[in-house]
């Protein structure tokens, strides 16, 4: 399976006459673009705002991020979501780099939504602070969940996915600046040199803990709550086979942008044929009862063992009770002789003194830590807020609060904020971007 991604590096985004891309500048016809988004009858209002790194802009509540792309065979980017099912992972894609499309609530936030700052102290807390963001600021008629802490955010999430296709088409006919090729032959058909190297799988545990449908990550449009682990080609993930959901505290989330560019997959590809033999991905999930957690761990360990994996990297989209899934999976793999490394964040509390994961096991002896969800962050006011700042305090975002005996409200009158890292949009960058770690003090 071979996937070729041609890259177009975006230097700026501007509004203008015609949707076009030239000399690194992406031009959007705002009116036409908004008309396209409003084709969804559930979207009642939409504005498009550009946020560039360095501008004193704060974006909240951010629900989803997607990379704009086009498939040269004309197929949809997200099978089972924006188009018919097809097998993901091969063919040629053109991608607009250095930018993302963000889905932002015009008013209403929810538990899993996050914040992005484009400048200063707050910029480093998210990947998206250093990308040019095309923000779709949307209100919808989904009144049934307007006052709910948990929201499916369906209209906004789907708008972002559809809009990524709308924008991506602009580079369909153009020549990319450079390109990357991702190719792995079938596991039993590899060269002798590659077969001699230690075999490695990546185990992904995307978020799937809501028992009601509509909140979880979707694999080919399928809700991962109703799922047992399976073996996948890494290209399927890079090529839109999986999209992000709307549940987990934001800093622990994987956005669709993360899936499309998953750094841990790319690092394993880079070492493939050199220091290891990258067999592929065991796609697992995260669950709410012990039996479900154990069942998934058993499937993962069995698949890894049967494939002949010598090593595995396990990574989870979450913290709290998902740590139980994470540790169970690491231990199940170690128990069948597969050497493991885990990549996740920690929750040590605001004081840093709490137990870092809810379950611990000495067999999990090689862990990468990407951040602390409960780190306290205080930030100055922005010149411009994209979305609605009060959402952070009012709507039950995991890292915000309406009021606190000691700290006061998350959003202060002057527009400055105090929050937990929890609400930084995909802030712990567990997909592998994170240059944070955890240290003892």
């Amino acid at each position: 399976m071979q996937l070729k991604i041609g890259n177009f590096y975006v230097k700026d985004i501007v509004f203008g006459e015609k949707l076009s891309f030239a000399d690194g500048v992406l031009t959007i016809n705002k009116e036409e673009a908004i008309a396209f988004i409003l084709e969804d009858e559930h979207i009642t209002e939409c504005d498009i705002v550009i946020a560039r790194p360095g501008e004193k802009k704060r974006i909240v509540p951010v629900k989803e991020a997607v990379e704009a792309r086009v498939r040269l065979d004309g197929e949809s980017l997200f099978p089972g979501v924006t188009g018919d099912l097809r097998m993901c992972g091969s063919g040629t894609i053109h991608a607009l780099k250095n930018m993302s499309i963000l889905g932002v609530g015009k008013h209403w936030g929810s538990f899993g939504d996050g914040l992005v700052d484009m400048w200063g102290e707050g910029q480093k807390y998210t990947l998206f602070g250093s990308l040019i963001n095309l923000c779709l600021v949307i209100d919808t008629d989904e009144e049934f969940e307007q006052r709910e802490q948990q929201k499916k955010n369906r209209a906004i999430r789907w708008a972002v996915h559809r809009f990524a296709e709308y924008v991506g088409k602009v580079v369909a006919e153009l020549e990319p600046e450079d390109s990357e090729t991702y190719e792995l032959p079938p596991v039993t058909k590899r060269s002798e040199e590659v077969n001699k190297l230690p075999s490695v799988v990546l185990v992904m545990q995307p978020q799937s803990q809501m028992e009601e449908m509509g909140y979880n990550d979707l694999l080919y449009g399928w809700d991962l709550n109703h799922f047992v682990p399976t073996f996948m080609h890494p290209n399927e993930v890079l090529d839109g086979g999986i999209i992000s959901g709307s549940f987990m505290p934001s800093s622990s989330k994987w956005s669709t942008y993360d899936f499309q560019n998953f750094p841990t997959i790319k690092s394993l590809y880079r070492e493939h044929g050199k220091s290891l033999n990258f067999l592929g991905i065991i796609m697992s999930n995260l669950n709410v009862s012990l039996e479900q957690k154990q069942r998934s761990a058993i499937f993962v360990a069995q698949i890894a063992k049967s494939l002949g994996a010598d090593g595995a990297i396990v990574t989870e989209e979450g913290y709290g009770n998902p740590d139980a899934d994470y540790i169970l999976c690491l231990v199940a793999l170690e128990d069948v002789g597969v050497k493991t490394v885990g990549i996740s964040n920690e929750c040590t509390g605001r004081d840093g003194a709490s137990q870092p994961l809810v379950t611990l096991d000495v067999k999990a002896n090689a862990l990468v830590s990407t951040g602390n969800v409960s780190e306290m962050i205080e930030l100055e006011p922005a010149d411009e807020v994209i979305g609605e700042l009060q959402a952070l305090a009012r709507d039950g975002l995991s890292g915000g609060w309406p009021d606190d005996d000691e700290l006061g409200p998350s959003v202060r009158e002057d527009g400055s904020i105090i929050m937990e890292n929890n609400a930084m949009f995909c802030g712990d960058m567990i997909a592998g971007w994170s240059t944070k770690t955890m240290k003892e003090f």
């Binding site: 480093k124 802490q149 230690p198 490695v200 750094p263 841990t264 790319k266 690092s267 394993l268 880079r270 070492e271 220091s275 290891l276 709410v288 090593g311 595995a312 990297i313 990574t315 709290g320 050497k339 493991t340 490394v341 990549i343 920690e346 040590t348 509390g349 605001r350 004081d351 840093g352 003194a353 709490s354 137990q355 870092p356 611990l360 096991d361 000495v362 999990a364 002896n365 090689a366 862990l367 990468v368 830590s369 990407t370 951040g371 602390n372 409960s374 780190e375 890292n421 960058m429 997909a431 592998g432 971007w433 994170s434 240059t435 944070k436 770690t437 955890m438 240290k439 003892e440 003090f441």
Partner: protein
């Protein structure tokens, strides 16, 4: 100029060895003994006073000695309190830890000390304050003093301090996120760690997990039919108006509610305020979290002697370990006072 008060024992004050270990606490102006090296290493600060106390006095008459020293300090202005270095001297190390902890609690100033890793004071006090990793004997005096002073200089200048391994003190069990100076991504760190592990080369986990210490098991109840049993839950069951305003996440409050006049918890009278799960089932029938109905049946059947007339409740989601431990201790005090024999704790 910032002010430092320094604590040393009778030996380093030049008073004498073992024969003078019962030396009573005293305070002198200026620096004494190791305080001179400390003075040299401090930037915009100096040792204004030195407290001297015999190791045996601190060890055997701890409360009185501590009170006397705190009394000495009451009218003094100081920005930081430093004790030792204590090297491998056990009693001296414990004395340094004891007095540092007391000064921190009484005056709220930063406290620092230094000990060798085998000093029993390390295990006793390392979570309370930065204890710098010191040498076994006074031959490493200059270096150990310099390490403390370097950190003190940063604190006094209001500069950021680094993690324990960079600063050179024993980790306090406090973990915070930091950005790596060499920005290697988690993806690359993970792959690199796996390659090393597969090759059998040494690697360093970013989250060390050590084998757990066993928590002692309480002696069992001998005769259940005479025992008084209490129900406790972290599942957030409260009267519908949540009279104690227990938070639905990151709880710091708990409540106790009378139940001896009911056969079961009724929907509409009790509910859950826990934000971490779908409350529908427990709101419809609170007994699925707090099993009052079956407990009352066990009382009637004589299986248990009696049910404690109150149940205790809080919320266990996002709750820090420190708060949870405090609430646990507070609840235990009540249970002990009411002579409860055993507890069923239902968690969600």
């Amino acid at each position: 100029m910032k002010k430092v008060i320094h604590y040393i024992n009778q030996f380093f004050a030049g008073i004498g060895g073992e024969d003078k270990a019962d030396h009573q606490p005293e305070i002198r102006e200026g620096s004494v003994g190791p305080g001179m090296a400390l003075n040299e290493a401090l930037k915009d600060a100096k040792v204004t006073h030195t407290v001297v106390c015999g190791d045996n006095t601190m060890g055997t008459d701890t409360e009185k000695a501590t009170a006397t020293i705190l009394e000495f300090l009451k009218d003094k202005e100081f920005d930081i309190f430093i004790a030792g270095p204590a090297f491998q001297a056990g009693r001296y190390g414990v004395a340094c830890g004891t007095i540092c902890k007391a000064v921190k609690e009484e005056f709220g100033v930063p406290v620092l000390t230094s000990m060798h890793e085998e000093n029993p004071g390390v295990e006793m006090f390392k979570s309370e304050m930065p204890i710098f990793i010191g040498g076994p004997s006074a031959t490493s005096m200059r270096k150990n003093v310099a390490d403390i002073a370097a950190y003190a200089n940063k604190l006094l200048a209001g500069e950021d301090t680094g993690p324990a391994d960079e600063e050179g003190y024993f980790p306090r069990g406090i973990r915070h996120q930091v950005w790596l100076k060499e920005p290697v991504t988690a993806a690359d760190r993970g792959v690199d760690m796996l390659i090393k592990k597969l090759k059998g080369e040494p690697f360093e986990t970013e989250l060390p997990i050590s084998a757990r210490d066993m928590i002692p098991i309480a002696p069992p109840i001998k005769d259940l039919s005479k025992a008084k049993i209490a129900l406790v839950t972290s599942g957030g069951i409260v009267p519908v108006d949540n009279p104690d305003r227990i938070q639905s996440a990151s709880a710091t409050r708990w409540g106790r509610y009378r139940i001896d006049h009911m056969d079961r918890l009724k929907s509409g009278e009790f509910k859950t305020i826990h934000a971490g799960f779908d409350p529908a089932a427990a709101d419809a029938d609170p007994n699925v979290i707090l099993p009052l109905d079956v407990m009352q049946e066990f009382v009637k059947e004589g299986k248990i002697g009696s049910l404690h007339p109150y149940f205790y409740s809080t919320v266990g989601t996002g709750t820090t370990q420190r708060e949870a431990a405090r609430m646990g201790r507070e609840i235990y005090e009540h249970l002990k006072e009411d002579q409860v024999d055993g507890v069923l704790l239902v968690s969600t």
